[in-house]
Subunit: 256 residues, 3 copies
Amino acid sequence: MRTLLKKLPERTYKPRKDGLTMVMDKGLSCREAEDMISVAGEYIDLVKLGFGTSYACGNLADKIKVYKFYGIPVYFGGTLFEAFVIRKQFDDYRKALEKYKLEFAEISDGSMTMPHEEKCHYINMLSKDYKVLSEVGSKDANVEIPPEKWSLYMQRELDAGSWKLIAEARESGTVGIYNKSGESNTDIIQEILSKIPEEKIIWEAPLKNQQIYFIKLLGQNVNLGNIAHNEIIPLETLRLGLRGDTFMHFYEMVVK
Amino acid sequence: MRTLLKKLPERTYKPRKDGLTMVMDKGLSCREAEDMISVAGEYIDLVKLGFGTSYACGNLADKIKVYKFYGIPVYFGGTLFEAFVIRKQFDDYRKALEKYKLEFAEISDGSMTMPHEEKCHYINMLSKDYKVLSEVGSKDANVEIPPEKWSLYMQRELDAGSWKLIAEARESGTVGIYNKSGESNTDIIQEILSKIPEEKIIWEAPLKNQQIYFIKLLGQNVNLGNIAHNEIIPLETLRLGLRGDTFMHFYEMVVK
Amino acid sequence: MRTLLKKLPERTYKPRKDGLTMVMDKGLSCREAEDMISVAGEYIDLVKLGFGTSYACGNLADKIKVYKFYGIPVYFGGTLFEAFVIRKQFDDYRKALEKYKLEFAEISDGSMTMPHEEKCHYINMLSKDYKVLSEVGSKDANVEIPPEKWSLYMQRELDAGSWKLIAEARESGTVGIYNKSGESNTDIIQEILSKIPEEKIIWEAPLKNQQIYFIKLLGQNVNLGNIAHNEIIPLETLRLGLRGDTFMHFYEMVVK
């Protein structure tokens, strides 16, 4: 099929610098993880074990082995980091990262309040041994962060050593860079884009209209995150203009 | 991981008396049932084969074997009971229970009208041979049962021999103890709680905000039902305060 | 179970002329396809590889083998046809159909504008070698086609050689024969029914309320499409009156 259909938008290949897809795993079995990889492995750049599911699921060590076997980076969701930190157990969190021999770590403050200097200090410490993804934005829909704070925090976290910055949306896509009905907060997004290099940002975009928004705004190779395991292929068709929503957009850009 | 992170809300263990999770299976394959158990088996206290799916699915006998092999109680959804009863085939329903060697049976009147004495009579008969789960509430959003009837019916069903009482919400979470937009009918819930022992009730709570509501109201070890097979681990993180929505709630109760 | 429960609405059997269920596969693994078949194979009359997923997924040849092995017809979603046609690569589309030895082909114009004579010409050409499913309706919610055009287009496509006509709704069920909130456009539906033989139409009905609508309107053996792989068994219970929503409807028609 791929040798037949021509003039599609060009996608980047693994290992990707941009055009990343970060997948949310909130409790897949090892077999389900393998299944996902058999269909969509070439598009999965990062897997996040969402919020505290790493603690609750019964197959953690085995599943991490599956992802490692296929060369797919995997990391613990930021809420787990916060659960350790709020209990004054940061050293135990480091032990968890070592125990499972992870190479990536997420640092966030979406479920608790933390002085931003403290967050940057954690980023700085972990970035010596790990690629750090730091997340900006609250999980609480009632906490509003003004646009200029989003870009300021992101810049400081980059300076502290973050590898990528994650713009919060949750699994539901209804907080942070989106409002309660899932629509884009364009003020925040434009402010971030005016200050922070695009390839440094992973936009959480669990809902289809959010994926379309960012693909139309920033192109097929925008970094997107919190993609459900069964939405990776549909997302890829959006990036390629092979779904109604982006079909004419890319036809006009690439073919015409 | 579990040896590292401390001071989480205490959960009950299998076989549980409270803190039950009842899972809705509406047509899983045997392999999907095994997968679910490999990840979350320790949290699955009951599996309901939802509504009439037991009749329609092509793998009934085999799947019941899978659940039995892993020691997980399984039962037919109440709609199947009603389908037999409305056709005056209650004896055939008993044959179905015997044929598949089940130990649990659900009795409901959510899809048909039935005098409450008749329902209690069925409960009484079946409770001699089975652990009976009886469900209160209509599946029709237009049928409103006043709060004091909920508790009255529940008490009578307990007296008739029910092992647990299920508070109706359907797979969608939009009837019975919830309104059409999925929000809790607190009048009904408070009335039930004032009359019926909490450990006797399983609250159907398919939607995340409903699970959060009951966990905050009644604690991590509340009995919850109609949980989708891929939401068991996310629910467990809510019970443990390892997801944003209950993170601070349990931090303040358990750690602080 | 099936020998015990009597007086259910009569269903057709494979190979079906009506009562068809067309399933949307938007990226299943081979194992997931097998799993679906193990539970619901007897109800799966057609599988559509949705929109451009055939291009993006990594297991296309193997998955087509799985469906063929179980005797289940499989075809490419119409968006893929359109992607070839808009690039003036219709000959390459024929090569794709030949390469994977398919017996069915979908022709649509939901993502691009195409003169209706041209569409009918494609139908005419492909219907010499394939069973053609042609889809009427735009994927764009802002494009409204008046009722009499729906029936006119459908009649012309039948005349051009279509085997079945698909009434567009997308995966979301919010365009074409439904409005933005997923409710039925009864004007369009009644106009189609007044002109086109019912067994020629497959109604896309991904949402439960849409399935209920058509089952109540046209009976248990209505042709329905865009059914998610894990909703085949729940749909079958609706057709059989074994779910609350159609329980009394069929009791009154079949038993009473």
